[in-house]
Subunit: 454 residues, 4 copies
Amino acid sequence: MKIVTIGGGSSYTPELIEGFILRKHELPITEIWLVDVEEGREKLEIVGAMAKRMVKAAGLDWKVNLTLDRREALKDADFVTTQFRVGLLDARIRDERIPLSYGFIGQETNGAGGMMKAFRTIPVILSIIEDMKELCPNAWLANFTNPSGIVTEAAIKVGGWKRTVGLCNVPIMMEKFCREAMDYRGHTGELYTKFAGLNHFHWHRVWDKAGNEVTQEIIETLYHPENHMPDKSMRNIRAISFKYDQVKDTGLLPCPYHRYYYLSGDMLAHELEEFAKGETRAEVVKRTEAELFELYKDVKLDYKPEQLTKRGGTYYSDAACELIASIVNNKKTRMVVSTQNNGALSDLPYDCIVEVSAEITSHGPEPIHWGAFPSSTRGMVQSMKAMEEVVIDAAVSGDYAKALQAFTINPLVQAGTKAKEMLDVMLVANKDYLPQFKSVIADLEAKGVTYVKP
Amino acid sequence: MKIVTIGGGSSYTPELIEGFILRKHELPITEIWLVDVEEGREKLEIVGAMAKRMVKAAGLDWKVNLTLDRREALKDADFVTTQFRVGLLDARIRDERIPLSYGFIGQETNGAGGMMKAFRTIPVILSIIEDMKELCPNAWLANFTNPSGIVTEAAIKVGGWKRTVGLCNVPIMMEKFCREAMDYRGHTGELYTKFAGLNHFHWHRVWDKAGNEVTQEIIETLYHPENHMPDKSMRNIRAISFKYDQVKDTGLLPCPYHRYYYLSGDMLAHELEEFAKGETRAEVVKRTEAELFELYKDVKLDYKPEQLTKRGGTYYSDAACELIASIVNNKKTRMVVSTQNNGALSDLPYDCIVEVSAEITSHGPEPIHWGAFPSSTRGMVQSMKAMEEVVIDAAVSGDYAKALQAFTINPLVQAGTKAKEMLDVMLVANKDYLPQFKSVIADLEAKGVTYVKP
Amino acid sequence: MKIVTIGGGSSYTPELIEGFILRKHELPITEIWLVDVEEGREKLEIVGAMAKRMVKAAGLDWKVNLTLDRREALKDADFVTTQFRVGLLDARIRDERIPLSYGFIGQETNGAGGMMKAFRTIPVILSIIEDMKELCPNAWLANFTNPSGIVTEAAIKVGGWKRTVGLCNVPIMMEKFCREAMDYRGHTGELYTKFAGLNHFHWHRVWDKAGNEVTQEIIETLYHPENHMPDKSMRNIRAISFKYDQVKDTGLLPCPYHRYYYLSGDMLAHELEEFAKGETRAEVVKRTEAELFELYKDVKLDYKPEQLTKRGGTYYSDAACELIASIVNNKKTRMVVSTQNNGALSDLPYDCIVEVSAEITSHGPEPIHWGAFPSSTRGMVQSMKAMEEVVIDAAVSGDYAKALQAFTINPLVQAGTKAKEMLDVMLVANKDYLPQFKSVIADLEAKGVTYVKP
Amino acid sequence: MKIVTIGGGSSYTPELIEGFILRKHELPITEIWLVDVEEGREKLEIVGAMAKRMVKAAGLDWKVNLTLDRREALKDADFVTTQFRVGLLDARIRDERIPLSYGFIGQETNGAGGMMKAFRTIPVILSIIEDMKELCPNAWLANFTNPSGIVTEAAIKVGGWKRTVGLCNVPIMMEKFCREAMDYRGHTGELYTKFAGLNHFHWHRVWDKAGNEVTQEIIETLYHPENHMPDKSMRNIRAISFKYDQVKDTGLLPCPYHRYYYLSGDMLAHELEEFAKGETRAEVVKRTEAELFELYKDVKLDYKPEQLTKRGGTYYSDAACELIASIVNNKKTRMVVSTQNNGALSDLPYDCIVEVSAEITSHGPEPIHWGAFPSSTRGMVQSMKAMEEVVIDAAVSGDYAKALQAFTINPLVQAGTKAKEMLDVMLVANKDYLPQFKSVIADLEAKGVTYVKP
C-alpha cells in the first residue's frame, strides 16, 4: 500500500506518521511519499528525516520517500492525503491581518481569510486531481487542507473526484468535551453523538447509553452562567463563553467556530487586541512552528514531541489514519467527515458537500441520516452553504464579480465599500498565488491598489 | 424487564420465546405476558403452555403470564410486541379469495387483502396505543402485524407513538440470498448491504469487503436467464423468476414481493390456479397452523419445532428479539426497520414511514441515509406510499370514498366497476371487524350487497 | 413572420390555417411552410392545395409553400409547429391492436402504444432540433405530436431546446365541460380554472366569479350517480362515467384520459369489443381521415369542413395559433401548456416537463404556481412521470432493458411475461421506424420473434 | 360592502380614502369604519373628519364611521385593512435609536427595530383575528402594518386566517424605477416583471415586450459606476449606490432595503450620522406627521395634500385599494403580495409566507411560479426566513431564549454581548406593549436593566 502526503513538509507530519505506526497491524503500508514544493524544501527535509527516524524506531520496513516531484509520488498511489498550505504561513498572516486592519474577523476557514485561502487552494487541488486521474485512478483522497469543506466540495463537484473525503479534528474534540461534561456531572458510560452541518460549522446531539438525549444537560454543564464547568474550547479559538439562552434554544451543541457567529462582536474585539499586539493566531502558529522545526532537527528525536499538541491541529492526522484504516478494513467506524449530502441534511442542496456523522466502509462514508434543522440554525447553515458555493465559483472562474459576491454574503464580513476595498487589497497581496485572477489583479494595480503590510 | 406480546396465541410465539432464550445474557427479562382475545383463547392456552415449558427447559426464572386482559398486561411494560391478526386466518382467507374471485391478486400485505387487513388492524393498534399512553408511557412498540409498514405509519403518525418500530423478516432473508449468490460465485467474505423502500416493497444494494459494489453481479447470479443459480424465493411467494433485463436496469436488488409488480400477470395466473384448488397461501397456512398447534399440544415439546419454518414468517420473531436487545444494550446493530423517513429517502414525504437500513441504538433506529431512487423505481415507490396514506385515511375515517380511492390507486387492483364491487363485498364480509365502516356497510347491505364464500 | 409546420400533410392542417386566418390582425405572417416526408407526399399535396385556397379566399397575401425538404423550410423560421406522425396511421393501428391482442389497453399516448410512438418520434424531434440549432436558432417550437408531454420533455431536456412548448386540446375541452356543467346548474358567469399534471394526465380546480371554489359542485353535476347531467367526454375516449365517490375524494376534476386509470377494467373491456369489430380508435380515425381527404380534394372547398370536428383533435390547432399570437404580442393569455416544471408542481422533479396553467408571455410560459397534490393523486402523477423518464431514456439509448423497464412500470400494462412478449413483437413490428433499436430488433428476429397483424 | 381600517387615525388614511374614491365605480362601498385606540383618539378625529370631507366632496353617500370600539366596527365587515402602529411613532423612534446607540442599524422592518415591532404587533394582530373569527368570518384581511411579511405569516400560520394578504408599496416603486431606467435608455414599451423573496427583501427580473430579458440592462443603467442614470431610491432609504459588480452577479434587481445587506457598513455609517443629529428616519417622520395633521385640521381641505408623498409610504394605500377591487371583481390584476408560498419559491419552506408576483383573483392571490434562486441570493433569503420564523416564535411565546436567538441570527445585528444588552434594554423600553414578555421584563428590571432615552 502506497500512501502519498501532499504538503509533506508540514509540522503535522510526525503526528501522521505516529498514526500510521499505531495502526501498523491494520495498515499494509509499503511506501510513504512526502511531497512538497520548492518553497517548502527545507521543511520537507527536516520533517522527512524525522519521519524516517520514527519509522525506523518502530522497527518497520516502510520506505519513506521525500520528493518535490508530485507526479512521481502519485504514480499508483492507494491513498493521497493533502495538508498543503499555498503561500505557507505568511499567507495566513495576511489572511488574518488584512481583514482585521479593516475591522473584520479574518478567520482562515470561513471568514475573509478562508475565502482567500480557498481562492489559492482550489486551483491546486484541481490540478492534483488531474494528475490523479492519470496516475492513480483508484486512489482515495483524504483532504485536510482548509477550508476543508469548501476544498472537498471543489474536489468532488468541480474536479469530479468522488473518492474524496474531507477531514477535520473539531468533531473529535467536541466528543471529548461532551465526555468531560458528562464526567463532570458524574454521569459515566458510553455516549452516542450525531453531527451535522458544514466544516467548522456543525452542530451535534448526544445521547447516553440508556437512550436519553443529554444534549440539553451538556449545554447546561458547558454554558449555564452560574452552573458551568470550567470553560473548554479549542486552542486556536479563544474561549469566550457562548450565551447559554441562545444555545439552549437551538437544542444543539455548537462547534467552537460558532463563536464567530454567535459572539461576533466579542470575538472581533478580542482579535483586534491580538492584531494590535502582533499576536494573531497565524503569527502565534508561525512562532510555534519555528520552534517545532528546531526540535525536529534533533537527530535523536524519533517520536512525536509533546509540543506539537500546542500547534492546534491535534487529532487531525489521527482522523486521516483512522479513515484510511476504516476504508482498508471495512471497519464501519463512525467518523464525522465532509462528504456528499445526497439529502442527508434536508435543508441543503442535494449535491453539495456536508460534514456529517458517517460509517466509514470500504466503499466510502455512509452518512447517518440527519434530516431538517430547526429555524434557529437552518437559515445560518443555508447561508453558509450558499456562500461556499459562490466562493468556489469565484475560485474556479477568477471572476471579480463572484469574488465580490462572496465578500458581500459572507456573514463575517460587513458588506459595503470597506469590504470591497479589503477584497481588492487581498487580491493584490495574493498576486503570486492567484493565476486565475491575473487580469483582475492587473486591473486593480493599474487603478492604484497596493498591498502594504498592516 | 417486562415484555408484552399482543397476539400471544400466534403460532410464531415459540420462535419469539426461543429468540429471548438465545439472548438471555443480554436481556434482563423478568416477565413475559402473552395477550390474546377471547376468539384466540384456545390457541393462547396451547402455545402459552409450551412457552412456559421452553422457559423452564432453559433453566430461566422468567414469569410467563397468559391473559385476555390487555390492560393488565400493559401496565409498566418495557416492550410491547404486536403479532395479532384481527379475524384470525379466516379473515386472511377471505382477503385472498374474494379478490381472486374478481380476477385480482389478493395479497395480504399490499394488495386488496392487505388494504382490508389494514382497515381491520389500524383501529386496534390505535386502541392499544391509547392504553399504552396511560399504562406504559415509556415502552417501545415492536410491530410485526401486517401490513407492517402501514400499521407502523398509523401508529406513529395517527397514534403519535414515536417509539414504534416496524419489523419484517424479508430483509434478513434477502441478505441470506445475497450471501448464497456470492458463495455460488465463489466469492466469500463479508458483505455490506443497504436497503430502502417500504415494507414488502424495498430494494437493496450490496458491496463486498473490498468496497466493490456487487449488486449487478448478484442480479446476474440470481436472474440471468442462462447463468443463474437455482432460484430462491420466500416460502410464501412462488418463485417465478424476475426478468433479468428489468432488474438489471434498476441497478437494485428487488424484494420477493416485487414479483407482484414486476410479474403481475404471471403471479395472477399462478394464484388463480391455487384459488381453483383451494390452495391459496392463506388456506395452506391455516392447515400448517393446525398441524403446528397439534404439535404444540405435546406436553413434552419444550423447543421450537422444525415445522414452524414452513410457516413462512421465520426470522420475524428473531428480528423482534434482536431489536429489543439492541435497544436495551445500545448495540448499534444494523437492522432493516420501518421507521420515520425524515428525508432519508428523498423521494418520499418527510414525515412518512419507510423501511430502511438503520443502526439500532438505545434511543431507537438511526437510518443510514439513502437519498434518491432512479426513475425506474422512484415512481413505483412513490405511488405505493401515496396508496398507503389513503389506506390509513380510509381506515381511520371509515369514509367510503377514501376506501374506494385506495382500491382505485392500488397497483394490484385493476380500477373500475369490478374493483368497486369487490370493495363492497369485502366490506360486508368483514362487517364484524370494521366498526368505523358500520354505517357504510349498513348502506351496502341495504342495497343488497352480500358476501358469499367464493 | 415565417411559420413552419412539420407534418404539414396532416388532416388537421385546415384547422391550423383557419386559426391563423382568424388571427390575421395580430399575426404578421408572410410565409407558411408545410413540410412532410415522401410517405406523406400525396396528403401534403391535397391539404396544401386546400390551405392555399383558404388563404386566398381570406384575401391574404401569405405565401403557402409545400416541401419535402425540411431544412429549406426551417431556414430563418420564427415558429415551428410539429404535428407529424412517424409511420402514419398504420403505425397507430399497430400501437392499439397489438396490445389489445395481449389483453392490454393500447392507448396512443400513455399506454403501450404511446410508449412505442415515443420510441418512433423522439429520434425525429431531436433531429429537427439539430436542424433548428443551425437554421433558426431563435425560433419557438410548438409541439403537438403525441405523446405531447413526453416529446416536449425530450425536446427540452435531451435536445436542449428551451423554447419548446407542448400543446394539447384536452384542457380547452375540459374548460368547456365545466362551463356546460355550471350552466346546467343555472350558474352563469366567468370561471377561473387551474390545471396541473402531465399531458393527458392532469387535474383541474374551478372557482366562480365570486371566488367560491366550485370543483365539488361540478364533480357532482358531472358524475353523481343520480344527479348528473348527460355525460360528456371527448370523441376519442368512450364516455364511461367516472365513479362519483372516487372523483369526489380527490377534490379535483380529472381529464378524460384518467378513465384509463380510474376505470381500467371497464375501458379495457370496451376496447376489446372494438378490437374484435375492427373499430379501434385508430381504425376509425383512419377511415375518417380518408373521407376528409376526399373532401379536401374538392377544389371548391376553401374553408375548414364541419367533418373535421369528428376527427378528435379539434382545438388542437387553435391552441397552437393562440400560443403563437400570445408570444408575438405578449398577450399574457392563460393557456394550459407542457413546459418546464421548476418546482411549480412540488411533487415532481424540478427539471421535468409538466402540463400546467400558465400566462403566455413574449418570453414564453409563466406557470401559475400549483404546489402539492393530495395523496389520492400524488402517487399516480409521480409514477407516470417516472415512466415518462424511462420511456425517454429507452427512446434515446435504444437500450432493450430500459424499454422493458418502461413496459414494466407503465400502469396500463400488466407487467410480466406477456408484457415482455408484447414489447418484443411491437419492436419488430416497428422495425422501419426504430433505428436506435436496430441491433435489438435483429436479435429478436434471430430468436424468432415475428409480427403478424392481429 | 363594509370596509374597516384598523389604525384609522394614521396619516395614511387620506390616501386610502382617495384610493377608494378613485375606484368608486368598481367598489360597491356602503360603509367605511376607521378604528383606533384611546392613545390615537385625537388623530382619529382629525383624519376622520377629513375623510368625511373627502367622501362628501366626491359626491358619495358612503358612511364614514369613527370608533374606538373595534368589535363594533368588525361586525359583518367584508374587508379589514390594518395600518396600526402599536406605541405610535415614539416606539419607532426607540426602535431606531436604541440599536444605533449600540452601533447597529435599527431598521423598523427587518432589523432590531423591526423585530421589536413584531413583538409588539403580533399579539394585536392575533387578537384582531380572534374577533374576526367571531364577527366577520368571511372577511379578507389586507395587512400593511410592518414588518408586513412577518405579521402576515403570524396571521396566517399562527392565527389561521388564510384570507390574509400582506401589502407593501416597494414593488410598485421598483416597477416605476425599471420604467424610468428603460426610458432613460430610450427603450419604451410595456415591461413584464417578476418579483420573489420576502417583504422588504425581494428581487425582480424584467422582460421587454419583445420577450428579451432586460434585467442586466437595467442593472447597468441604475448601477454601472460610469454609466448610470441619476440615482433612485425610496424616500425612507438613503440612496447609497449598490456596487455594480455585486448586483450584476446576482442577475436580479434588488429592492432598496437590500442596501442594508449589500452595503451594511455604509448604511450604518450614514445612520450613525443621522442618529447624532437627531434625524433618524423615525424622528423625521414624526415631524412630517405633525405637519400633516396640522394640514388635516383645515376644515376646507377635502383632498389628499401633496405633502403626504413626503411621508414615505406612498402607494401603500393604493395597493390596498387595488387589492380589494381585484378581489371584488376577479380582476386578475398582477400585484406583488405577501402570501402563502406552497412551493412557489422552491428554496423556502412550503408553508411559509413569501412576497411574490401574483394574479389577484376573487379567491385570493394566485402566485406566478418563481422556482429556485442562484447561490448568490439563495442563502440570504433562506437566512432571513429562518430569522422571521424565530421572531414569530418569540413574539407568540414571550420566551427570552427565542428573542435572544432572533437577535443572534438577524444579519443586521452583530451577535454577542452587546446584542444581548441591547435586547434587554429594548424589552424594558417596550414594557407597556409586550404583555407576553411580562415576567421576562420583570426579571430584567430586577437585574437592574433600565431604559434611558439615547
